[in-house]
């Protein structure tokens, strides 16, 4: 009985780990740009380049590399252009803060536009 439970536990452990690896693999591939394609991710592409990267990512996950380490490796080899999610760096500050800045400016603008002038309401 004990052996059966151990086998089942081992089976459960192996399948859950491979499922987690597959999820991580898909997540990473979706965040990588296919350098030889037009606006496609590595995940969506079947180009020679994408197939090699898919295989490399799979190997890296098997070797126990984390998501961050894999991105770092690929960005070292191909530059940040391969990452669809640009890293937070000095030259990408504007890219990260621009939407918030525009949002705040928009709120200020709306505030002034919707605010009725007091003098007119008195009249």
């Amino acid at each position: 009985m004990k052996t059966i439970i151990n086998i089942l536990l081992l089976f459960f452990f192996i399948t859950s780990e491979s499922h987690a690896n597959e999820n991580l693999n898909n997540k990473i591939l979706k965040n990588l740009r296919c350098l030889v394609c037009q606006g496609q991710t590595v995940q969506d592409s079947n180009s020679e380049f994408a197939l090699i990267i898919k295989s490399v990512v799979k190997d890296k996950i098997k070797e126990g590399n984390s998501e961050k380490e894999i991105y770092q490796f690929l960005s070292e080899k191909f530059g940040d252009w391969i990452l669809l999610n640009p890293p937070f760096k000095k030259n990408s500050y504007l890219l990260w803060f621009l939407p918030y800045l525009l949002f705040i400016l928009g709120i200020i603008l709306l505030f002034f536009l919707l605010k009725k002038p007091k003098i007119r309401s008195k009249e």
């Binding site: 030889v36 530059g79 400016l105 603008l109």
Partner: protein, 172 residues
């Protein structure tokens, strides 16, 4: 009050105009600018049709090393081959050819037909090792110095202009 609205709207528009105008010049295709000055990975490369390997660390012994990634099935590789032969005549450059995802016999006959300019001939049967050098298509050529730093990376076939540029770069 209207004045403030006008000011905010004009700030927003001028801001957007600057962003859009400056992005007109931005390149939307992959380039290798980021890789210049970086060290190449220390990896083992299999020698062509041999059980032996060569570690990239050994390139320290060369004044300059050129890594050329090629295959016999790649038409642009055939086009650039005479330029590799030209580069092979430069004494302070060691030329390393990495044959990628190729048929052994085709690769051999390619070199027999066009000449073998390589000091070291290596192979990457599944193309995975080439990722360590940031190769995403062939032909690609990387010029490195004795500190293993990338001086120049050429994507696509080398032309005579590139050969002259390399000549200048390796000139003492």
């Amino acid at each position: 009050m209207r004045k403030i609205n006008y000011i905010i709207i004009s700030i927003l528009f001028s801001f957007l105009f600057i962003i859009l105008y400056s992005s007109l010049d931005n390149e939307r295709i992959y380039n290798t600018k980021d890789l210049i000055g970086k060290k190449i990975s220390q990896v083992e490369i299999n020698l062509f049709q041999s059980n032996e390997t060569i570690n990239t660390e050994e390139f320290i012994n060369n004044e300059f090393t050129i890594l050329n990634f090629w295959a016999s099935w790649c038409a642009p590789c055939r086009k650039e081959h005479p330029n590799l032969v030209r580069l092979s005549k430069i004494k302070n450059i060691k030329l390393v050819g990495v044959n990628i995802k190729d048929n052994v016999e085709s690769a051999k006959s390619f070199l027999k037909e066009n000449g073998n300019p390589f000091d070291i001939l290596a192979e990457d049967k599944n193309g995975k090792n080439s990722v360590n050098f940031g190769v995403y298509g062939i032909p690609e050529t990387i010029l490195i110095d004795s500190e293993l730093k990338i001086l120049k990376k050429y994507i696509g076939p080398l032309n005579i202009k590139d050969v002259n540029e390399i000549r200048k770069l390796v000139k003492k």
